[in-house]
Symmetry: C2
Subunit: 123 residues, 2 copies
């Protein structure tokens, strides 16, 4: 028999499991600023599309994020902003509270070819 307690713990564990991955945390940090399309994540995190998509699928399965299609693009956004309390708390436990609560990884303009076809820095 599964008590309410058990269920709570299992749910919490499942949530932690979904968060137990640096790339997924990085994705959530990017989404902190609002919804983003996959191409942004790809560009910002410097990972392959298929890989990003896989990690997004994990977060989606854990109901941490949802997607919204708009034409050719998929936009992802966090379902419960409370999730950021979790991320910040985790950093606080580790770094003693002064661990930068996510310096904006995001650049002024996304360097992906769609959004910023302006300048490709090649250094």
């Amino acid at each position: 028999m599964l008590t309410t307690q058990d269920r709570t713990e299992a749910q919490a564990a499942a949530l932690f499991k979904a968060l137990a991955h640096p790339v997924r945390i990085a994705i959530l940090d990017v989404l902190r600023h609002g919804e983003e399309c996959v191409c942004h994540l790809e560009a910002i995190l410097g990972k392959r599309q298929a890989y990003i998509s896989q990690q997004l699928a994990v977060l989606r399965a854990a109901q941490i994020i949802t997607d919204r299609r708009d034409g050719m693009n998929s936009f992802y956004l966090v379902v419960h902003p409370e999730i950021y309390a979790l991320l910040d708390a985790a950093r606080a436990v580790r770094g003693g509270a002064n661990a930068a609560p996510t310096a904006p990884i995001r650049r002024e303009s996304c360097p992906c070819p769609k959004c910023a076809p302006v300048a490709v820095v090649a250094d």
Copy 2:
């Protein structure tokens, strides 16, 4: 090269990983009330000693708990009480904040033979 950001994410991920297990969460919930010896955890959680000990080792490796030996017993206690903010936040995300923030699993008297050799309820 590993940026500060990367390191923060890796640390947070490691913390989440340690928490991503229902039994380990249950252990932390028991420790919420203060330090406990292994025999208590064994009795309260209804798991075998070796199993509990292994999960404790995981939590210890993640520097979430520390132990203190006192004669024949080892007492475990949580290093950063902030960890409970994490657990509560996780439950809040899941259950919508009304998920009982850990109803005391602990019984009035620990049923382990050492502490309460008084009455073994047998229903």
